[in-house]
Amino acid sequence: MLKTEGLTKRFGDNLAVDDLSLQVERGEVFAFLGPNGAGKTTTVRMLAALIAPTSGRAWVNGHEVGVGDMDIRRSVGILTEAPGLYERLDAVQNLALYAKLYEVDDVQGQVEKYLRMLGLWERRDEQVGGFSKGMKQKLAIARALLHEPPLLFLDEPTAALDPEAARTIRDFIGEVKGLGRTIFLCTHNLDEADRLADRIGVIKQELIQVDSPANLRRSLYGRRVVVHLAAVTEQVQAAVRELPFVKEMQQVDNTLVISLDDPEAQNPIMIERVVAAGGAIRFVNELRHSLEDIYFTLIQDDEQGVTR
């Protein structure tokens, strides 16, 4: 669906994207994360055949960037950082223009389909300039989908939206994902990436890491179980330490944070031992590192030259 090999972009002396090699499979939601200026938007622009790479190669939907640019533009949808709508025109006029430019057969049908899908049909004749930010963003997403592209580039789809609008957009992206489309999502919203993405790529000019959030959690932190007790006694600590599969244990107030390889299999044994040692367990949960933790760990590792 999408593949890059050593993709590099320079603007004069400024290296925007350095030697990027990655692959995104059909039907996958790939979240592209990185600080401001990391090269996310530049990468999207290269992959959408808007700007040319300085070196390296990329293929999008079977067409090579720089060779089949017109075919690439026909086969991808793009939501740019700003909605970029024609504010004096109404919603139908905005979408109809793009449907014609994307050579859609049933212009009116497709426009109606997406306006209804995104809850804008009742406001179709109003000038877009009077729309809220959320409505404009919905319209811009509809514009990107009109020609039913198999690959969708979404650049910060929920940036600057209020929580309700952001949630609507996120839910809609989830629906689009459910329809089997491939989504390349650039975002600063790590919670959004965590919810939607099958894999994430962290970039800071060069690609730092690519994997699924679950694999990154496991590889960076292992798996940790938190046992909440009425009181942590010496006997309970000793009973846990004696277990051969316990890799590490920390006490934090009345909780024990225990590193395990396979909590599903090892938790029942561990809990049995704790109870046998007189521990009064209140509840047990897995310590789940947020994508934010993962992101900052990877960025800090990169800055300190740590390789994993």
């Binding site: 700007i51 017109m70 991808v76 740019t80 024609y86 004096r88 025109l89 223009l97 793009y98």
Partner: protein
């Protein structure tokens, strides 16, 4: 060139412009002023009659000496005004054209537009057509209004002079081609300069040499005939094609998207 895509952009541009009262007013004001001036001046000259002095008689060429001096004077005056009619569609759309690319960049609508499968040639032709077509139609309409008004005001020979072939060819051919030329210049300015106001000023400068050449004609240094009009139209067409080619070559998608803020 895909006609459907070009028409889609033209429709959008015109729909957008129609909702902008300033653009509509600025396009209407010039033809209204010109038609009003010609009809008003002619009306008072015909009504009040009067004698022409020696200076006035001096500008009447030999071939018009046999007819009524007032009629001859009106014919000469109208010829000059009609020349301005040729220039209206050149002046009207240049500022719209100058804003066309840089304006889209400013409203951030250029990137989604360039992400569609439209070629630079199609985009520029569409933008040019959107600026030229309303201007030419307005000019033609105002010419028709002028002729209708003249029918009631002007003496017969003067009216006949206004609809002689040289002017009809000029209106039908040269006027749109001159408009295209100025619009292409405006679009070059718009796609190379990242500030809309500067682009509009520079586009205005592009038009000065063309207007200068027009003044040479008005001053009588070149005699206007159908042949001259057709030859000028052919040359203008060739220059249009060359300027469009230059405009497409000068359009830098990447620079516009990445360097302009």
């Amino acid at each position: 060139m895909n006609g459907d895509k070009i028409r889609a952009i033209v429709d959008k541009e015109i729909a957008d412009a129609r909702k902008n009262k300033m653009i509509v007013l600025s396009m209407l004001i010039l033809p209204i002023l010109l038609v009003g001036t010609v009809l008003g001046t002619s009306f008072f000259m015909v009504r009040d009659g009067g004698e022409l002095d020696e200076d006035d008689m001096g500008i009447i060429p030999a071939e018009l000496r046999d007819i009524d001096p007032m009629h001859a004077f009106l014919m000469i005056m109208n010829d000059q005004y009609l020349f301005y009619f040729l220039l209206i569609p050149m002046m009207m759309p240049v500022y719209i054209a100058a804003y066309s690319i840089v304006g889209e960049k400013e409203t951030k609508s250029l990137e989604p537009l360039l992400a569609t499968p439209i070629s630079v040639g199609e985009l520029l032709v569409a933008k040019s057509a959107a600026a030229v077509v309303p201007s030419v139609i307005l000019t033609w309409l105002s010419f028709v209004v002028l002729l209708i008004g003249s029918y009631f005001i002007m003496p017969g020979p003067v009216l006949q002079a206004m609809i002689r072939p040289v002017w009809l060819v000029g209106m039908a051919l040269l006027s749109p081609l001159l408009a295209l030329l100025s619009v292409f210049c405006g679009i070059i300015a718009s796609s190379r300069i990242n500030d809309p106001r500067v682009a509009q000023q520079v586009a205005g400068i592009f038009v000065i040499p063309i207007i200068g050449m027009s003044l040479v004609v008005i001053a009588g240094k070149i005699f206007l005939s159908v042949g001259v009009m057709l030859m000028t139209a052919a040359i203008t067409l060739a220059v249009d094609c060359a300027v469009l080619y230059v405009a497409v070559r000068l359009f830098r998608r990447e620079t516009i998207l990445t360097r302009w803020k």
